[in-house]
């Protein structure tokens, strides 16, 4: 009984941290979808690039770890901005399918780029002070300090996001554009700028998630963004694509689902990813708009 309680507590905190990471990435997906109705398939790879930027900032440019992380987050934001400007903006008035296909192409491009430039060999991300790898020991319960750091950082970033969206003019414009682009631009908002800011914020969040992820699973390789990206996307859909609360709730939900199920049924470890997809399918069948409905389905 004691062992079970210990495992449960460990798994609980583990779920919070994994869920936080999914939520951070999911928010980026949902913000872009809210504004452009585009599923930015490249988002998972932006997460990957952020991690590599941090890695090289510290190992190649020899910046102290906190500065390296900061620089990486900024550069990733810039990357998101560039991708929007170069690949998505020219297609803004084209059929939606074209942007979707282009996003797939960008994702593919980023992965290949990482293989060629960074090398296909996985690198170890041991670029931060040992403190982060320490464990908090409370009797028989051992929880990595990183878990708490992840939870705190995630909470802080979501607070920041809330302030941005509800207490600033830019945030107001972002929410308005999510409803109707032409009207908002008539109202005087610079649509292109707001869209760029959305991408910058989403990509920066993804970079933070990437750094935290690499601290937890210290192996960095070009395809590392694929599965977390897909799962975060599923989280966003489950929560209701277009809704930021939805992305956050969806992220934590998915994190819990994944860890708890494998915790209670270790034999199902191989099927770990399936639960995300199955949940997705169920949601799509019965409530496609997700938990926090934003868009109604087109009915005639």
């Amino acid at each position: 009984m004691d062992a079970n309680l210990n495992s449960f507590v460990q798994n609980f905190f583990n779920s919070l941290s994994l869920g936080g990471l999914y939520a951070l990435i999911a928010v980026g997906y949902t913000m872009v979808y809210g504004i452009l109705r585009l599923i930015n398939f490249a988002h998972g790879d932006i997460f990957m690039m952020g991690t590599y930027f941090a890695f090289y900032a510290i190992t190649l440019f020899l910046l102290p770890w906190w500065l390296g992380f900061l620089v990486a987050i900024c550069i990733t934001g810039l990357l998101g901005y560039s991708i929007e400007k170069i690949a998505y903006r020219p297609l803004r008035n084209a059929p939606r399918i074209s942007s979707l296909i282009t996003a797939i192409g960008v994702s593919f491009f980023l992965e290949s780029f990482a293989v060629v430039v960074f090398g296909g060999i996985p690198k170890s991300f041991n670029v931060y002070p040992k403190f982060f790898s320490e464990m908090l020991v409370m009797g028989k319960i051992r929880i990595p300090i990183l878990t708490f750091i992840t939870i705190i950082v995630t909470a802080f970033l979501f607070l920041f996001l809330w302030v941005l969206l509800y207490k600033t003019k830019t945030g107001l414009a972002m929410r308005a554009i999510a409803v109707d682009i032409p009207t908002t631009s008539l109202m005087g908002a610079n649509v292109n700028n707001v869209i760029s800011i959305t991408f910058i914020v989403g990509s920066s969040f993804a970079a933070v998630a990437g750094i935290l992820w690499a601290m937890k699973y210290p192996q960095v390789q070009p395809y590392m963004g694929f599965t977390p990206g897909l799962k975060a996307f599923i989280a966003a859909v489950i929560g209701g694509i277009g809704s930021i609360q939805g992305a956050i709730v969806g992220g934590f939900l998915l994190g819990f689902l994944e860890i708890m199920i494998v915790g209670f049924f270790p034999g199902l470890a191989g099927y770990r990813d399936v639960f995300a997809y199955v949940t997705l399918v169920i949601i799509l069948m019965f409530r496609p708009t997700g938990i926090f409905k934003v868009y109604s389905e087109q009915k005639v």
Partner: protein, 353 residues
Amino acid sequence: MKKLSFKVNLILTIVFLIGVYFFLANANIFGDYWSRIITLIAIYGIMAISYTLVNGITGIFSLGQAGFIAIGAYTSALLTLSIQQKEMSFFIQPLIWPLNSIQIGFFPATIIGGLVAAFFAFLIGYPSLRLTGDYFAIATLAFAEIIRILIQNSYGLTNGTLGLKGISSYTTVWWAWGWLLVTVIVIGSLKFSSYGRALRAISEDPVAAKVMGIDVFRHQMMAFVISGFFAGVSGSLYAHWITTLDPRPASLGVMLTFYVLIMIVIGGLGSISGAIIGAIFFAFVSQWLRMFESNVNFFGFTIPGVPGMSMLMLSAIFILVMIFWRRGVMGKSELSWQSMYNFFKKRVGDENG
């Protein structure tokens, strides 16, 4: 401009087919490697045509093609593998009955592979086609991944992550191109029939089509299932070309769907000849670009190879096509004698002033 008569069209087509026949019969001249590539082109062609039927002609954006290809590949491979090979490969969990004691020929195995894939297309289409646009894409993606993960974990059925190897390489130039011909005829007839016109109407505007009395759901379902069948067939051909199957994401996952997507986008969404052109382009370019991955000797200098370069260039080309040339080579229309005649007549006409 003169319109070519039916007779001229027929003669040109027959001459063309005879030309293709001779080309294929002598494919070995180019060496074993190139005849392998020529076979691969036909396999890619079938994948592309089946995919363009759904994404292009019917206008519903599916991301699940890899799932059906995988089903076709595994089903047919499990049926054609010899019994000793199965015993040797399945050493975590023995293969279930009756698969562990039957072995059938290539042709029936391919047909069954296609049928099983079509069956799954039916199962998946039924709930998914209720969804629109992006949601449909997400749903098909999810189903394809579920299929792949199930294959990856069912050691008793598919040998799980160990995969299948030692599959006999039955796919020759003839089998591949033969099936390609069948695919072109079937889906071509579909496209130019009343069903095809209905599909195009649905792809333009589903609401208007419904108002006109077209049963949108039934038509989309039919296209989806037929596409599933041919995807399964292509999977079987592919399995017997590459001789090993690995259910991990890199080979039978979403990446495969993306590759086929690249083919049909470059060739032109909705065009059958475009799909074949896209397949040819993809096969050649991805093999040719591999050249940059190993050291190249140029007049005594060795230029070091960069692994992964081929994929980088391919994705860059893809993005450029999407931004600057979205309609692809053929757009929605088909390559026909009439269009080529018009094309050449126009150029000659221009030059003569």
